[in-house]
Symmetry: C2
Subunit: 365 residues, 2 copies
């Protein structure tokens, strides 16, 4: 992928994404090396953050990862079909009346989030391993600290092999929440001294040894996000799109403007190009007049409201010859995902999970 700008496929008028599986594996190995005392799993929910669950899981399995995390039962059963019988598959959304059967049939390990789920699980099949999730401050899912005694009592015959919690502010190493949640997690672990413990996602790993415990659960870091002082991931997704039109704005309007709403003035001499990428493809509408692409190594600003299938960019500063069907990079080595996420007023995760179905996928192996 050193030469991504020249490796774009010019035979298609669609947006494309090249997923670099070598980068996914390298990111997993970096995160594994950052937490040497812990086993390193892989969060592959939401179609591996949009990058393709099956293909990514196979690559990670081959690299030595044997523990995976998903959110939905449908993800869990599909993943079991991909990775075979060996690996552990944790199901974050726990157990529900309608998911007990596929959980048991596919040897999925539910992460129990409440007394309600515990009762369902106890009634389902005795002595089947499960994890439990303690809410140490996220207030979203999980057993609350005040419920621990009662939960312990009710789970005497339950095979609780793992105790999880989840950090609310791990992306901010300075947040006091991190230490508060860590302290509470230690308190919870006293109830299950023989269970294995897991607290950290990608940013939690970067917080240091105290947060690693027995098992880590990196997600975004595998896919090129979650950058911190401690962890610089390799770019995984390279999204490109073709130029469909090259022009200067018609200056005969009273005030020439670009795109919907007529809100972006365009002066004479400004060179424009319109590309086949829009919010239907996941280039969020919040990138209107703030996002960018790269064309021939030059950063070109988005100078319009993003429309469903099209974006107009300012290519005035591109000195090389530009042709129809030349491709621009929306995410990749040049168009850094962290910068694009800031421009969209969101986080890297949403740019990845938002990739639309028209984006043609290829894998770099």
């Amino acid at each position: 992928m050193n030469d991504t700008m020249n490796s774009f496929d010019s035979s298609t008028t669609s947006p494309t994404v090249a997923i670099d599986l070598r980068a996914v594996v390298a990111n997993w190995q970096m995160l594994d090396a950052l937490a040497p005392s812990a086993e390193t799993g892989a969060v592959v929910k939401a179609n591996a953050y949009g990058t393709g669950m099956g293909t990514v899981a196979k690559a990670l399995l081959e690299a030595g990862c044997t523990t995976f995390f998903v959110a939905h039962i449908e993800e869990a059963t599909a993943l079991r079909g991909v990775v075979g019988d060996g690996p552990t598959i944790f199901l974050f959304h726990g157990v529900h009346q309608t998911t007990i059967t596929p959980i048991l049939e596919n040897a999925i390990t539910p992460v129990l989030n409440s007394m309600y789920e515990l009762k369902l699980w106890n009634a389902a099949k005795p002595n089947t391993p499960c994890a439990i999730h303690i809410d140490t401050g996220m207030n979203r899912l999980g057993i609350q600290m005040s419920e621990l005694s009662a939960f312990k009592e009710a789970s005497k015959s339950t095979d609780i092999m793992w105790v999880f919690s989840h950090l609310a502010c791990s992306d901010d190493p300075e947040s006091p929440m991190n230490a508060i949640q860590l302290e509470r997690f230690f308190k919870a672990l006293e109830y299950w001294p023989d269970a294995k413990a897991s607290l950290s996602n990608t940013c939690g790993i970067a917080l240091g040894n105290a947060y690693h415990f027995d098992l880590t659960r990196p997600g975004i870091g595998l896919y090129g996000g979650g950058q911190s002082k401690t962890f610089i991931p390799k770019a995984v997704a390279t999204i490109s799109a073709p130029i469909l039109n090259i022009f200067e704005a018609d200056q005969s309007s009273p005030v020439p403007t670009v795109g919907y709403g007529g809100e972006t003035p365009t002066p004479a001499g400004q060179k424009l190009a319109t590309i086949a990428l829009g919010y239907a493809d996941g280039s969020l509408r919040s990138l209107s007049n703030s996002g960018f692409v790269f064309l021939k190594d030059v950063k070109c600003p988005i100078i319009c409201r993003i429309s469903m299938d099209l974006i107009t960019i300012d290519i005035t500063n591109v000195t090389q010859q530009v042709s129809i069907l030349d491709r621009v990079e929306f995410l990749g080595q040049h168009a850094h995902i962290e910068d694009q996420a800031i421009a969209a007023n969101t986080i890297t995760y949403e740019l990845l999970t938002g990739m639309g179905p028209r984006i043609q996928r290829t894998y770099v192996i």
Copy 2:
């Protein structure tokens, strides 16, 4: 769909969308009635704005629609397979070196956007019908007003059957741009007096008879958006998601907060529920602390940063009994798409095209 809140499928822990095909057809018929002098086509690009191109196109075909519009060649060829040989399929992205063959093989009608595309088309196969797109002020794609003479000269042997343009500000009936573009469109039409003319999308139809010409191109209006004084669409997409957890926040934190970032305080006595819907499913992250859902006819605010798979809502005002796996409505009869779009600081279109692959689809026929 009169009883959507009771017709939710409680057998799944996934988010679901019910697409009401009767509403799509009714919306198309309303738009057709608003422009009685024109033929009414249907824009089905971007998977029919996320609602499912094949199923929607078949329903519209059955209702009498014989003209469809798409953006990408892959959409055009897939649609031809669905609707058969009869209907006209216009391809907005025009003709390119790599798309000539599938265009001709599938009898697609390209909308030529430039002199460049005209040359390709003239060289491809003489006397094959096409449309041309005049840029009357959008500055995105299209032949500019200053190019009209030269384009006319170069297209003497081209079978130009339709002349299109596109309004930049039709969602604002007060915008002076509408009249400016209309006037320019008339000027352009003087060059091709025998061609049929098409200017208006959904909002353009609502601007009145002067904007209708021979053929209209409604998109968003078919799918429940594009509301105006003249046009009130029926809701098409009903998105629901199950409740996975019901709780009050743990008040033992120094400052109890909900979700990532720890930025949303939650007082004692506030009743919360966490639902299986997240930005990976298209509930945009910009709805954090501003969006809403309906639960048992009560509006419940989103009171956290949206996470990838989960959202926490405030259900304090729901007086009826609430149970795990009860479903909330994120879009539909109660959770109106225009209101949700405003809460997300975007437009209805992005809520529809953003629906993620985990959302299970059903069709109401």
